[in-house]
């Protein structure tokens, strides 16, 4: 790969760290003494619901926002005092595609390349290369205005890679992508760490973090609640496969929960409003047969029955005792931290 030759840092160099970073927007404490460290050449995933402060920390690390207190370093540079140096080693893909609609795909990438001071010729060559990689070669000479949402996303990501920066920040990169594009993007992210580049990504999807990250930090209300490898997280916090059932008669939800607990199932969680019940699938798929028998015995009819990959909600529930939706409701009352950017 050409980018590994152009890399400005050895794999040991480009790390990210934050020490006690806080940021307040009016009444909302968007970040509350956040500390973490990302090792060079690894993928770090910040996992959390809307309004948890993910975008705020990305904006601080990419020099768009100053922290109220605390310090942060990106590739050994202080994000406040050495902001310009930080900018030369990072690529940022924000939550919404940041591309110029009036320019063509090729012009967009060429412009970014020139602004990284690659020189016109090199910027052009690199643009063509990236258009090819991101399956946009045919659309390269069309104005971005005519692009679909997925194409804009891909172009946006290509723009972050123009200068082959050793550190990438991707803020919810797969939100709004179709499954195929999502897989393609995952591939690109994995390649980055193979090339020794450091990737800092935020996501709302546990599956995505699990798949890509060497380390995951779970964030809520401006704080990191738990940090660890995907496996550590699964072990500690209900990240295992779950059995999910739905009872036909919602009024009997709690009765069913009780029956399952008596049956020896732990961490059974039911939502009476929807009739949904879930618990960790210990013992593999044979547990499904047990559930059916048990429900039969107490005469509760099931509308749905299945195994389900855990979601952010499940992990959240295990750590905080509430789901991300209740977090969102709390946050919305106080004002949404992620949308209070300016």
């Amino acid at each position: 790969m050409p980018e590994s030759k152009e890399r400005k840092f050895e794999c040991t160099g480009a790390s990210i760290s934050a020490e006690g970073v806080s940021k307040r927007f009016g009444k909302v404490q968007a970040l509350d003494k956040l500390s973490f460290k990302v090792d060079p050449g690894t993928v770090f995933a910040l996992l959390g619901p809307n309004g948890s402060g993910k975008t705020t920390i990305v904006r601080i690390l990419t020099t768009l926002l100053r922290p109220d207190s605390g310090t942060a370093h990106v590739g050994d540079y202080d994000v406040v005092r050495e902001a310009q140096s930080v900018r030369s080693i990072i690529g940022l893909a924000g939550q919404y595609p940041a591309v110029d609609e009036n320019l063509t795909g090729q012009e967009n990438l060429g412009m970014i390349g020139q602004l990284y001071h690659l020189g016109r010729q090199k910027a052009r060559t690199r643009s063509d290369e990236l258009l090819e990689i991101f399956d946009l070669a045919d659309a390269g000479n069309r104005r971005v205005k005519t692009y679909s949402g997925g194409m804009r996303r891909r172009l946006d990501l290509a723009a972050t890679l123009v200068a082959s920066p050793p550190i990438l920040f991707l803020d919810e990169p797969t939100t709004g992508l179709d499954p195929r594009s999502r897989l393609g993007l995952w591939e690109v992210i994995s390649q980055q760490s193979e090339n020794c580049n450091t990737v800092f990504l935020t996501t709302q999807y546990l599956e995505e973090a699990d798949r890509l990250a060497n380390k995951i930090a779970i964030m809520d209300n401006g704080r990191i609640l738990r940090e660890g490898s995907p496996q550590e997280l699964k072990d500690c916090c209900g990240g295992d496969t779950h059995v999910k059932i739905k009872v036909t008669d919602r009024t009997r939800t709690l009765e069913a929960v009780e029956a399952l607990r008596e049956f020896g199932k732990e961490s059974v969680y039911g939502v009476p409003e929807t009739g949904e019940i879930s618990f960790p699938a210990i013992g593999g798929s044979s547990v499904l047969a047990d559930v059916v028998r048990r429900m039969d015995a107490v005469g509760i009819e099931l509308a749905e029955l299945g195994l389900k990959q855990p979601t952010l909600d499940d992990v959240f529930l295990a750590i905080t005792g509430h789901t991300t939706e209740t977090t969102n409701q709390i946050n919305n009352k106080e004002g949404n931290a992620d949308s209070t950017k300016k």
């Binding site: 020099t63 100053r66 900018r87 919404y96 940041a98 020139q114 602004l115």
Partner: protein
């Protein structure tokens, strides 16, 4: 890490090019802008032309120099709107995360607007000539006049940039622009002789930078001596840039808060 001068210049060129391409890709913007100016030019000439006593000078000869100045004054309010619009989009975050010169985003915008003003001014002079306007003294004064107006436009555009970046909302930017632009245009020697105004307004009209701007172009077009108005307008242009360019750049840096 500080940026090389050549990189800064390259960044400004790249950003200017981006804004000019917008006018090329969306020609309707510039076309309607030009049409509006032509319509106003003709209206003012034929509606007011008979009513205002300009001391024996043909009205088109009297007001067209000011009309050129008006074009750049109103043009600067569009800058406010454009900047506010750019700030509301995600693209600004990308620019701010790049190792480009901090000044390039705003400077590029101002220079692209200077190109827009040049096009409009040349068009106005052509239309004006069709209805009787003349530069009596040949090519030199024409070029000097155009240059002075464009420089005036650049100065005011920095004011527009400052307003756009301060209000951050396109509709507010539009209204905020009109607040300062209308008094500048009308309480000046642009459409009527200052002597016809009430004395308190004459005080403002004499201080108003539009007045020396208009007087200078008028003198250039009539082949008269530009006298002190030339120095006045040059001083104004320098002063406005010296105040508002740093203010606008400071606001841009403060976006991190």
């Amino acid at each position: 890490m500080s940026l090389k001068i050549s990189d800064t210049i390259s960044d400004i060129i790249v950003m200017t090019r981006r804004d000019i391409l917008k006018y090329i890709r969306l020609p309707q913007l510039l076309v309607f802008n030009a049409m509006l100016n032509v319509v106003l030019l003709l209206l003012f000439n034929y509606v007011f032309g008979g009513a205002i006593n300009t001391g024996g000078i043909k009205y088109v000869q009297y007001f067209l120099p000011g009309f050129l100045a008006q074009t750049v004054v109103f043009g600067s309010t569009q800058t406010s709107v454009g900047i506010a619009e750019d700030l509301s989009k995600g693209l600004i975050d990308r620019f701010r995360s790049l190792p480009m010169a901090r000044s390039a985003f705003l400077t590029g915008r101002v220079l692209a607007d200077a190109v827009r003003y040049a096009i409009l001014i040349v068009l106005m002079i052509i239309v004006g000539s069709a209805i009787g306007f003349r530069f009596e003294n040949g090519v030199g004064p024409v070029i000097a006049g155009i240059a002075l107006i464009i420089l005036f436009g650049i100065a005011l555009t920095w004011v527009g940039v400052f307003i756009g970046i301060s209000v951050k909302d396109t509709e507010t930017a539009q209204v905020a622009g009109f607040v300062w632009v209308f008094p500048l245009v009308f309480a000046s020697s642009l459409y009527v002789p200052i002597a016809t105004m009430p004395s308190w307004l004459q005080v403002f009209a004499n201080i108003n930078p539009v007045t020396p701007m208009v007087d200078t172009i008028r003198a250039l077009s009539l082949g008269m001596s530009v006298s002190s108005s030339l120095w006045k307008i040059l001083a104004w242009e320098a002063a406005i840039i010296l105040v508002f360019l740093p203010l606008a750049l400071r606001r841009y840096r403060l976006l991190t808060q």
